[in-house]
């Protein structure tokens, strides 16, 4: 048998950034095809918004003296945030399906760098979160049930997207931690409970009560408080109180989720 030579220069290692558009496109189509995810991400939040805002009229729709935004805008931010958190968490948690199906093992037989893979998951989570937020914002704006200053729309949307990325890390952590059958079923109820503690379905929770003090420590609380803060803009250009503890809450939970995801991810990709 001849001894052919192999020219490695015709077989380069892939030399591209973290983002591959083909792969990202396929990833997004996968999620968008999933009817259950789509309903919870893009149908449920705007429908809930319409349902709740329709019952808030007249004096009830006023946030406070001088405040530009109406209560409808506050509800819109809550619903958009809920949809975005659900979207990013599901996108992150989809690694559990990939682990169970052996897809992540298959990917190890390709030049794909595991870190690039995680980056891609985060980007697709971000795009999905943007879709969820966008749909709710568009429905709320088009129906006229929400109004606030132009800059508040932009500020709220940006805060929701950045904060939702924290939950992509939460999804990844759960996706690497839990077996595939349970991951999604577990995450839905957990997010619902965290949303209640975060005041998503009730409006701001006072921290005077014991319940409020507990709620203040939960992951969505800080995120929700920061995301709603731009809605407190008044006609004189001032904002409501901003508590530093909200940022501490979000940063601490972000650190915990990222650390957890990294820990499980290392365990998952270690060669045994």
């Amino acid at each position: 048998m001849s001894a052919p030579t192999i020219d490695l220069s015709t077989r380069p290692r892939p030399n591209r950034g973290l983002l591959d558009l083909t792969v990202l496109g396929i990833e997004l189509r996968r999620v968008l095809r999933n009817r259950r995810t789509m309903i919870f991400m893009v149908v449920f939040p705007p429908v809930m918004f319409l349902f709740i805002s329709a019952q808030i009229t007249g004096k009830d729709d006023v946030m406070g003296p001088g405040i530009i935004a109406n209560v409808g805008a506050y509800v819109m931010v809550s619903m958009a945030l809920y949809g975005a958190v659900l979207a990013t968490t599901s996108a992150g948690a989809s690694v559990s399906i990939e682990r169970a199906s052996g897809w992540s093992r298959q990917l190890r037989l390709t030049p794909l760098n595991p870190v690039a893979y995680i980056a891609m998951k985060m980007i697709s989570a971000l795009v999905l979160g943007a879709i969820a937020t966008g749909v709710t914002f568009i429905v709320a704006s088009a129906t006229g049930h929400a109004h606030m200053a132009a800059r508040s729309w932009v500020e709220c949307a940006l805060i929701i997207l950045v904060g939702a990325l924290v939950f992509a890390a939460f999804g990844l952590f759960m996706g690497y931690l839990l077996p595939s059958d349970n991951a999604m079923q577990f995450i839905g109820p957990v997010l619902a409970i965290l949303s209640i503690f975060g005041g998503i379905f009730t409006g701001p929770i006072s921290t005077d009560s014991l319940y409020g003090k507990i709620a203040e420590m939960t992951p969505i609380y800080g995120f929700s408080a920061i995301a709603h803060w731009p809605t407190t803009l008044t006609t004189s250009g001032t904002y409501g109180t901003f508590k530093f503890s909200w940022v501490v809450n979000l940063v601490v939970w972000a650190a915990l989720f990222v650390a957890g995801a990294v820990w499980r991810f290392r365990k998952d990709t270690a060669r045994v």
């Binding site: 048998m1 192999i6 892939p14 083909t22 897809w103 298959q106």
Partner: protein, 325 residues
Amino acid sequence: MLDVMTTSTAIELTALTKSFGSVHAVQGIDLSIGQGEVVAFLGPNGAGKTTTIDMILGLAQPSSGTVAVFGLEPGDAIAHGLVSAVMQTGGLLKDLTVKETIRYTAALFAATRPIEEVMETAGVTEIANRRVGKCSGGEQQRVRFAMALVSDPELIILDEPTTGMDVATRRAFWDSIRADAERGRTVLFATHYLEEADAYADRIVFVRHGRVVADGTPAEIKALGSGRAIRATWEGVTREELRGIPGVDTVDIRGDQLLVHAKDSDAVARFLLTSTPAHDLEVVARGIEDAFVALTGDEAEASAALPAFGDDTPDLPTTENSEVR
């Protein structure tokens, strides 16, 4: 790193071992596979085939010993698209279509073959837009094969690729692999289907209990299965008369029919025809399954399997579907 490699070896395993706690899955394998060879890695379940393959692919870390793929670390060989694999199960996303799956894989490599061409070779063009979850086991295996082809690798490793396929699908699958190997690709496949190894490999490496117990061409392996069987008719033959013939290993008699196994079957046949009343003589190579049992079975199993005549004896050569365990 050198740009041009001059190594003619596709896979080089040196004193390779792998233990999981007290389980010694691989107990010292030395193996060298040259470029362009089509090699069957044959052994019963639990022989260490999959563990060895995982180490060749860099999915598992050897406990000791070394693995070189085209002279490189497994991870480097994969990064350069030199090696790809068709795994036994899994490795597919049910909610992607066949074409999306292949495009996804292709997007991860620097240099790839055209997707349409790869789908044609693997025979998945007709099902390109079908969801992977809706494909049959055989079709999914073709999808895995297509994924393995996109990087145009120099080496393809297949781990029991035809498990669960029916006979016709299996044959069609091997025809595609064989046709593809004609282009000079090195192929290593693990199997416990004996006929597969015999029919499709140029070389068979037998493993048992994590060790290589035999290595050679299918003909050599069959010869290692100690000789041939001789059938003949001899009215009134007795065991004692047969045992007296020089070179006979085992003896069985059914009425006037006799069956003996012998390493030097020619000498025994000559003796039977010239010095005894035996007639209608027939010499048959022992099936590869016999060789398999003799080589890899435990000694007790092997000797029990030797005098095969009548009863549950399969006609030689063995049937397509026979499987060990």
